[in-house]
């Protein structure tokens, strides 16, 4: 069981700040300004989530910089470092997602658009209340996937293209499957949910495994 270390978390959190700001501003502005009823298939939030996840992987995976060489030579085990990278990513996601969710759930968005005389609000507000959960689902998939692809790419002594392409393939298949799964019912929907969970767990474990032998060259 990993024990969260405040100092290490704080440094990683600060390293991830640009990603947090990009994701937060993007989702908050979207929640406040999007004039229509929010739908699960709207592309903009998906793009914002993808951008934040890519930035998180890049900012928390700068293994060729002196500051990462410093962190990786403090005496933390590789698994502890991997755990803290995931923790910092999770905090970044929560910093973007929780306020966005609150904007929707507290009625702020509905009230604002009601004031702006949108014909959809407040009547349609309950229909979009669950949409941030879709974003959460995207984050849960994309954060480990992006970290895995980034670490795979950073392996200097191993072939890396295969892994990155595999991640892209998995993501495209799963994202395309989202729409399909929403219309399914019964045991097959549960099976798809289990598959989704298995892919996430595999990406997390695969990333951790690659991270153990990662080279930190500065």
């Amino acid at each position: 069981m990993m024990i969260a270390r405040w100092g290490l978390t704080r440094i990683l959190w600060r390293q991830a700040m640009p990603a947090t700001l990009a994701g937060s501003l993007g989702l908050w502005v979207y929640c406040l300004a999007w004039p229509d009823v929010m739908m699960a298939r709207d592309p903009w939030p998906g793009l914002i989530v993808l951008l934040q996840c890519l930035l998180l992987a890049a900012l928390l995976g700068r293994f060729e910089t002196p500051s990462f060489a410093f962190l990786y030579s403090r005496g933390y085990s590789r698994d502890a470092l991997w755990g803290h990278v995931m923790l910092a990513s999770a905090l970044s996601v929560l910093a973007a997602l929780v306020p966005a969710w609150l904007i929707v759930r507290t009625g702020l968005r509905s009230h604002l658009h009601d004031l702006l005389q949108s014909p959809y609000f407040p009547i349609m507000a309950p229909r979009e209340a669950w949409v941030p959960l879709i974003w959460l689902g995207l984050y849960v998939l994309l954060v480990p996937a992006c970290h895995y692809a980034w670490i795979r790419r950073a392996q200097p002594t191993r072939g890396s293209q295969g892994g990155s392409l595999a991640v892209v393939g998995i993501l495209v298949a799963l994202l395309a499957g989202f729409d399909l799964v929403r219309r399914l019912d019964g045991w097959f929907a549960w099976l798809c949910g289990l598959l989704y969970g298995a892919v996430v767990v595999c990406l997390l474990l695969g990333g951790r495994s690659l991270h153990r032998s990662l080279e930190v060259r500065s």
Partner: protein
């Protein structure tokens, strides 16, 4: 249980087409301070980075505190400290934050000692790392390492940028730590005076290989400079000494040798009355090896030990 804190066997490391380490074998006994000497690009930093688990060897083996030195296994994490070039915290990090980061990694980290170190150089706990002078940065990093009370401490040019007083204080603290904790230290430096101040053992590395390794006192005692007009043929010295390097100065031949348990008188007896034998300092020895290492040995890659 191994008596060696560090053991490398035929260690190799390639960076693309460049071979940084080329079959480097080195044993470092527990409780000693080993200084690594060698020209730039000799492989000193690469060796320390492999021992720290930052990079992996291309071939051969490295053991740290009895465990393979691959990517900081759990058994080693927190027991080894490292200070290296291009291994620095973000510029906005303060000593107070660094203290927290280090305390999370090593259970034996002594916060009071770290604060005492910072106080000695008037470094405020809230001063950002980027606002410190080069010497202060080095001091903070080395203090972090020493305050961790590690069993093995790897210092890559720790005195770089330090004034003489700070250098002395740093090496005194290192010696105290090694003595108190029976710790082991590997220190790279280009400052020969530092070597003579702190080293128990010296290893000279060139082209990714150890070409000379031994206790400092032993090197001082056994290494000689032999001068002779005309030539000195190697067979005259076989069984009596190892040739470390050689050059010619006009008509004069100069060899640097390590005696194999024979006295200067026995050597003189073999070489004849024209020969002169002198003691050499570490700096002369280092320069002799770096600049006048026998070409045949350099090409064959064999060590001179």
């Amino acid at each position: 249980m191994s008596d060696h804190a560090v053991r490398t066997v035929e260690l190799r490391r390639d960076f693309g087409t460049v071979r940084a380490l080329d079959g480097l074998s080195l044993d470092v006994s527990k409780g000693t301070i080993l200084t690594l000497l060698g020209p730039n690009g000799a492989g000193k930093t690469t060796l320390l980075r492999i021992l720290m688990g930052l990079i992996e060897p291309t071939g051969g083996q490295a053991f740290v505190l009895g465990e393979p030195a691959r990517s900081q296994p759990a058994g080693v994490a927190g027991r080894v400290a490292y200070v290296g070039d291009r291994c620095e915290p973000p510029t906005w990090a303060t000593p107070a934050l660094l203290e927290g980061v280090q305390a999370g990694a090593s259970r034996s980290f002594d916060k009071a000692l770290f604060r005492e170190f910072c106080k000695r150089r008037s470094i405020s706990p809230t001063r950002p790392y980027g606002a410190m002078s080069k010497g202060q940065r080095r001091w903070v990093l080395t203090s972090l390492a020493l305050a961790s009370r590690p069993e093995l401490i790897l210092l890559d040019e720790p005195a770089d940028g330090l004034d003489p007083a700070a250098r002395k204080a740093l090496y005194d603290a290192l010696r105290d730590h090694v003595n108190e904790c029976e710790a082991t230290a590997i220190v790279t430096t280009h400052i020969i005076a530092d070597v003579e101040r702190i080293a128990d053992e010296v290893a000279i590395i060139d082209a990714g290989r150890v070409i000379l390794h031994g206790p400092l006192e032993d090197l001082r005692d056994r290494v000689r400079q032999v001068e002779m007009s005309g030539g000195i043929s190697s067979p005259e010295l076989v069984d009596l000494a190892s040739v470390l390097g050689g050059t010619r100065l006009g008509e004069m031949s100069i060899l640097w040798i390590r005696r194999n348990g024979v006295s200067d008188e026995e050597l003189l007896g073999r070489l004849g009355p024209d020969a002169t034998i002198r003691h050499v300092g570490l700096e002369t020895l280092y320069l002799a090896i770096a600049e006048h290492r026998p070409a045949a040995l350099a090409e064959s890659g064999k060590g001179l030990e």
